[in-house]
Subunit: 341 residues, 4 copies
């Protein structure tokens, strides 16, 4: 008798597209695959965009959403060498991007991800190639570990893999979403001086408890002027630009000469714009960050254990509460939303 | 009897501000200074902007314009160790920026340049600190050598110092101004595949004679589509973005995954704007290039001799023809405009 | 009826171990494999060491030697996507090392290579995973293309991928073997100033014909003093250290401050030694180069076409002349030895 | 009446050369100089070598030893802009090396240092160009601050400026001298996993109190095997090689593939030697570290305040106890030796 499992599926792409909890057979791991018992799934704002718009991706129905999970190896297919039954693993956001340069070309950028081009992970079991997983950090539970593949790695890739931040550098993160809080925690753990822009004193107080040194209330005047004041006009070495739109121009004003702006989000608009003068005269490096590769995720996992980083989870939902979890994305969580299975 | 010299001066900043050929005493080199007999001055589009707007710089009158020159050491002050009488030298655009990080802060970006913050060089003699000069390349005459400090170094800094281009890379330059043609020549000399966008077949034919592999006529359809076609969708590894404005967004579409866009000009607008999606997904590095430091100019001089690079001079004017030379800037020269003294 | 093919095999490892031309069935490409008709095999000094000592590798008999080949795809197995029948390909020296960090650990360094850990390529046909090959450059014939995977890539990886050489840099290569001549040609094509140390005026004359600027006869006094003389005491920016042993100490003396020494060979001893003072005071980067990864080989292939690099082949042997080709390795060829099939 | 001051001088270079406490006039700051009241001087093993051998430097008598100090600006000469009276400052080891590439050439490496090529600082007052100092960190007293210019910066330059260490990296330091303990503290503050090799359990226990994760007793068997055991054969990402001699070969065995060995000392011999195979196959970067430049010292000062690093001082001596302080260098202090004035 075939064993069955539950999973959440979509039969259509639309704003408010129904999420269905359905039943199907547990897959068998093919050659080179591992069968993973999913223990936690972390949602990203992108999962909402895929559900609502498809983001131009080739979606096949029934579609299982979500890209980030943690679980345990339940069975292994032939020729599997990286993992054994019982190993705790997390997924990779870009399967097949191992190290160095990404896949894709100029016309069709690299974007073959789980829960998008590939099926998602919001399922009791998944069977996928062993190379699509990495070992989970020993110091985190499954819910915490599930937040690393996209939000955590994005912050790590921006600040450490690309940004090479150092003790004493100034780092500014915008808002209190998942990537921003990971950025805050990674920067603070490396001895950087951390600035957070957010709305309202309550959220800023919570970021200080997480290690931020300076909170800037976006409701009170020009945040760039406040940066100048706090840094004695030196500006910020590394900015995690999350808003996009004209806020990008503000980041160009706030950045230090030869500093870095990592563009990771577009909450305020799908375009970026800003003045050319500070870009030319201060010569900052501006780089979009589209998550990162497997080797860097392995480095990050090692660092999480080493520095004792604990991801910030706003709320943990049960498997039956997925629609409520998706609704929570709209309200702007403080950190991450996780579904425990 | 004091010896006198001629120089060009401005008494006011305005569109059409009069350029006056005036006479003054030849300066004496102070301690640490060298007196240089100026043999050639190269004009940049920026010299026009300074004449017309002052660019927010603290201009003192009578103001001598222009930043780039080549000449010969005529006398040395006390404690001078880097140069001797008879040495051929060129100026540095950012005096005092030797290597590594530039001067300046986030609020007031680094922009202390000759012919702007400091006096200019359009004068028969100048006396300045010895550290403000580097040796001229042996393989160039004075007119050619005078084109290196700003236009030449900008292209070198973008492609080599920052961009680290390699044989086989694809490089695209926009237009046929001074920086673009230096970029073309440097890239071709390193074995890169060079693309030029320009208007009309005649200019494109001239760029091919200089070593460009592909010419794209901006008057004939979308240049990005033509890039896709010519590169089999791979896109361009290094783009020298000269236009600014919405053309920046086109460059984001044309760049290869993990490529680089060096923003060096703002001919089409003082803002830049473009779509966030290719920035996020292709993760290119975007960097403004504000010329470069003295160590890099020394490297470039060495390379000019090594690869036999001959700067492209559109027209050589005599000292008395400076107003005509400035007018030529408005018409968009093919390469550089030089005044010989 | 099964088709058969010829190949060279060893049944034992020893100095003078017999090379046998044997017959066996042409393999069938398994899932993910391509069957390649081998058209040329290039020998490396390492192939001699493997034949004589095994180099500590797990050799299985009958053992097919050699790692570097060029050929044409004859058939493809299921699920092959990178290549089609008729494509011209070359092998990769380290199968599985795609980009970024290599495989292996500190105790057991990465050294899983063709013609060593894996079977070799001195065979009329080989069937291997498609990921083990890259496209051959269009501008080379098979014999020339077969020299790229080990000798060519080693020089490219040292000078370009790691060394990031630039026009005007000084580059010194030691001797006239395969890697040295590739280093010479790559450096010259990038506008570097190339120095060669070798024995006797005849070989030095031949290197000048290939683009070297300075030849230093190792039989005539201290080569380091000659470097000082030729560089006005500046020293060499990039040294390709091929001899090893105490010659490494000479390279430490010859290198420029903040220069680079790429250690690629051990012709004069399996240890390296030298004085600590120049290492500390000049702070050069010393890096061993163990060939390179597949992404870099793809870059190199692109560059070969772009700069028109023609590998130097000392002699082309026929398939029946393999023992003579191995003997030639002992005599120190000028460039590469290739067997054409 | 001219004010006088005390200073320690040598009239000869020899093992056991007499150190004399002499009196002389307090200097007046020339144009561009600052007069600094010296509050603390830190000794380095190098000061002993200079006293005993001169290290080939052009010593002028009476010679004031020592390079590293902290103090307060007492007066400023004309044209001084970087500092004002009352500012707390520390010295730079290589005056004039601001950023980027060092001074010097291949034959005569860069080594123009205080207490060597230039006069030293073991004096109640010193007057030197303002550019030779940087601001002291606010969080350290003078004795602590005086340890940064040579020992502290060497560790920072090796691990951070050059090594770009990251959280989760493994770092190994050899022994418990000044550079080793700075390396330990910097690495631990960045979330690295720190290994220390030393002799005897007592010193190792003290390093664990400073943040080291693993202590390896060099008296108990092969330290490389212990590294393999502790890292599950992965090896060490960054090794601070302090011993030199054949210990360098051990470091080549212990280093991880693509790791880094920073050679900073020669306690066990003025040569380095080791096997070529791990250098070739693991492709580590080996770099000698000759302290570092002023910009990096400024970065380090900022980091010291940011991470709260407290330098380890073995013993603080009074100005009259300088001979005893020099004797202490021979016995191998745990951390630094400082003279307070």
């Amino acid at each position: 008798m075939t064993k069955t499992m539950k999973r959440w599926t979509l039969d259509t792409i639309a704003v408010g597209a129904p999420l269905n909890l359905t039943e199907t057979a547990v897959p068998k791991p093919a050659r080179g695959e591992v069968l993973v018992r999913v223990k936690a799934v972390s949602l990203n704002y992108r999962d909402k965009l895929v559900r609502e718009t498809g983001m131009g991706l080739p979606i096949q129905f029934p579609f299982v959403p979500a890209s980030d999970m943690a679980g345990v190896i339940e069975a292994v297919g032939d020729d599997v060498t990286r993992f054994a039954v019982g190993d705790r693993v997390i997924s990779t956001f870009h399967p097949g991007w191992i190290d160095g340069k990404p896949l894709g070309d100029a016309r069709t950028p690299p974007y073959k991800t789980l829960g998008g081009f590939y099926p998602g992970v919001l399922s009791e079991y998944i069977s996928m190639p062993e190379g699509w997983f990495v070992s989970a950090p020993a110091s985190l539970d499954y819910a915490e570990a599930s937040t690393l593949p996209c939000a955590g790695l994005t912050a790590w890739f921006a600040l450490v893999e690309r940004g090479k931040i150092r003790p004493g550098d100034s780092v500014l993160v915008q808002g209190t979403g998942g990537v921003a809080l990971f950025g805050l925690q990674i920067a603070a753990a490396q001895g950087a001086e951390v600035f957070v822009t957010s709305s309202g004193p309550e959220k800023l107080a919570r970021t200080k408890a997480l290690g931020a040194h300076h909170g800037i209330d976006r409701n009170k005047g020009d945040w760039v002027e406040e940066v100048y004041r706090l840094t004695n006009d030196q500006g910020i070495d590394h900015i995690i630009e999350i808003a996009g739109g004209p806020n990008f121009g503000q980041s160009l004003k706030a950045v230090a000469p030869h500093g870095r702006i990592s563009v990771i989000g577009v909450l305020e608009g799908f375009d970026i714009s800003g003045p050319a003068a500070p870009l030319l005269l201060k010569s900052p490096t501006v780089q979009g960050i589209g998550v990162g590769h497997r080797r860097s995720l392995e480095d990050f996992v090692r660092a999480v254990d080493s520095i004792g980083l604990k991801p910030v989870i706003d709320h943990r939902y049960a498997l039956g509460e997925v629609p409520a979890a998706f609704d929570h994305l709209d309200r702007g969580p403080f950190g991450k939303i996780v579904i425990e299975l």
